[in-house]
């Protein structure tokens, strides 16, 4: 049995192609049923996110013919490409050369890297693990997940958990809005119940405000010179509108200020902010200046208890965080390697199971038959003695089968070892007659 992955991602295909090959949730079950109906493919999972579409299959090992193209070479690739082209109505030649295909052991490594967010556009992002889990649950509900993919995905989840808990890959936010939120939390603690003031009616301000509201901020105030634009934005965000001449008053009531006007001169001057801070008795004020040119006079950053971050500062922090995450990659890869090794070992044992079961059953049957014959020839034995003879037979069988079973369990079990297993099967069981 093999685990085969075929797919495209942000590294191999542009967004327009990714969009055309992406699956909506309701499309997945039908595709999975068609996939597992293909000869030689017994299990399947589809992972479709904005950055990747990947098809995971548990497939029979290909016959020993030359593999057909693509990284990693894949016997099943052509059939999956055809099915994908047919399902998504995209000609195969448009994406075939952008597809990658992996087989064991690379496929398992790839799955673990995807789940751990090492293959993501934003390194260390947390969402991809949830998306992989969701893809797995959907396939499970469709009934296209069996022992192999189930085991592989479960181990991928635990590898991802290890990567996140044992390294700092997910510790530092890397997007500008998440950096702004993290900084605000460092100053103000929990953002629940806080008040946000948006100065200006720009979209970027609204987006950042939404991100802060998602952290529990309750009240939003909007101040803008153009009242109608302020009212539109306020409706969108369920916010209150303050007239521009009451800006100081609004500043006194707020915890976070997001400024994003198009004014050519600073809207918030140092002297104004100093008097605001005095009126607030220096209660901390977190100011995000997203405007270019800047809305808040840079010298205001020197005021005690006022924390001013402009676009450059936020981007600088985000870049620093990306570097910190990159520094963790080696440690993550080390964990992935350990987990991949464990998973491949489990797959080998899984492959050996039928042979072990067959051997155990046959030897037990022989033992039972010979025991019955022997006991028939010894009618004078009492119950205690009969029990002793049964135990003796059982012990001898167990000891005799111990060495070959251990050898089978410990054999690496893939491809070339199939010959060894077949040899063992013939040696110990005969030709199967």
């Amino acid at each position: 049995m093999d685990v085969v992955i075929t797919g495209i991602n942000h590294k191999t295909a542009p967004v327009d192609l990714r969009e055309r090959l992406a699956f909506r949730r309701e499309e997945v079950p039908d595709f999975l049923c068609s996939l597992t109906a293909l000869p030689g493919i017994s299990e399947g999972v589809v992972l479709s996110t904005c950055n990747r579409t990947e098809i995971y299959c548990a497939a029979e090992n290909p016959p020993p013919s030359p593999c057909q193209g693509g990284p990693g070479g894949d016997f099943h690739r052509e059939r999956i490409v055809s099915l994908l082209a047919k399902t998504k109505q995209v000609p195969a030649e448009e994406f075939a050369d952008r597809l990658y295909a992996y087989r064991l052991p690379e496929s398992i490594r790839h799955l673990f890297r995807v789940a751990s967010s090492l293959d993501s556009m934003v390194l260390g992002e947390a969402q991809v693990l949830g998306q992989v889990k969701e893809a797995y649950r959907l396939a499970e509900a469709t009934g296209t997940v069996g022992k192999i993919l189930s085991g592989a995905f479960q181990q991928a989840f635990s590898a991802a958990k290890r990567v996140r808990s044992e390294t700092r890959i997910g510790e530092n936010p890397v997007s500008v809005s998440s950096v702004a939120i993290r900084l605000a939390e460092k100053v103000l603690g929990d953002l629940r119940g806080r008040t946000i003031l948006i100065v200006g009616a720009g979209k970027i301000g609204a987006l950042t405000a939404r991100a802060i509201v998602s952290k529990g901020a309750e009240r939003i105030l909007v101040v803008n010179r153009n009242k109608s634009r302020a009212e539109n934005l306020a409706r969108e965000l369920s916010a209150e509108v303050y007239p521009f001449d009451r800006l100081s008053e609004a500043l006194g009531e707020t915890d976070v200020v997001i400024s994003c006007t198009e004014a050519p001169q600073p809207v918030l001057r140092r002297e104004d902010l100093e008097s605001v801070m005095k009126a607030r008795h220096h209660g901390p004020l977190f100011v995000i200046d997203l405007a270019v040119p800047r809305d808040v006079e840079p010298a205001s950053a020197e005021i005690d208890d006022l924390y001013l971050y402009d676009m450059d500062a936020l981007e600088q922090v985000a870049d620093e965080h990306t570097e910190l995450r990159r520094g963790e990659i080696d440690r993550c890869e080390e964990i992935i390697s350990q987990e991949v090794k464990g998973c491949l070992g489990w797959m080998d044992r899984l492959e050996s199971e039928p042979l072990i079961r067959e051997l155990t059953e046959q030897w037990d049957r022989v033992c039972r038959e010979e025991l019955e014959k022997a006991l028939e020839n010894l009618p004078s034995l009492g119950p205690e003695e009969r029990k002793e003879v049964e135990l003796l037979a059982s012990r001898i069988t167990r000891r005799l089968r111990h060495v070959p079973l251990q050898a089978i369990k410990q054999s690496p079990g893939k491809t070339e070892d199939e010959t060894i297993k077949e040899y063992l099967r013939r040696l110990l069981l005969g030709n199967g007659e």
Binding site: E166, R168, E171, V187, H281, D304, Y309, Q316
Partner: protein, 300 residues
Amino acid sequence: MQWQRTLIHTGFLLLLGSGVSYLHYLLRGSEKVQKVGLSLFVLGTVSSAFAFILRYVEYATLYPGAMVIGPCETLLLLSFSVSLFTLVGILATKIRLLPLVAAPLIGILTVSAAFTLRVEATPRENLIGSFPIVHILSGILSYSAFFLLFTVSVIYLVVERELKRKHLGPILERVPSLRDLSRTQSLFLGLGFLFLTLLILLGAVQVWKVQQPRVFPDPKILFALATWLVYGILLGLRLKTRLLGHRMAVAAIWASLLIVLTFLSELPWNGWHNFLRRRPPREESLSNRDVSNPKGGRNF
């Protein structure tokens, strides 16, 4: 003595381990190491507390009813109360890094206690009953809380500086937010002021009982009253939310200077009030003393 030494050394090693674990947590962020650090901190605290109890039981047996407290006992009590408040701080504000700053100080106090183990305290015949020990204990608890207030204020200024410099590195990720630090400041300010008030009230009762006429030239009392006044003002302003953030941190650091002055003021009298100073004759030292008559001194 052997048991006390073993317990003190064990406590010191545990606290050292705790400090190292917390440092590792700060640098690498492993939650497991942080939990190990906390466990070592608790065990170290318990070990030092047992050392104090053994020491005190020994004195209580030798001098029943008498007030016996020397440098070793004071240091052990100080280390215990700083540990206690650190644990209170962790529970109340969830600032898990407090032991990182508390463990080195407690370690120093504990190891100093080990060095002073051989210094035997002499009983103070003029301090009989439970008032003096509660008075001293209140003082130690109050100064421990103020020490932690000082520490938290320093952390506040460091975190604030890093935020102003727009650095949010991995270490800053693990330090608490300014708001949490501010809440911790309030907690320690309140606790410190409460115990300081208790200290002064109990002291006043004791002075009234013994009708001591030479109280007010005593610098220790003067500094204690000044400390009470300053911290009282800080607490009042804090409760009215008129002293927040950076200013509160700076004020708390300056106020801690008063604590240092209080300690310096009592150095000439070995930590006692000047009107309680007593120079026992050499033959009355603990080793040569007739322990069957421990209360053989003058009583007020």
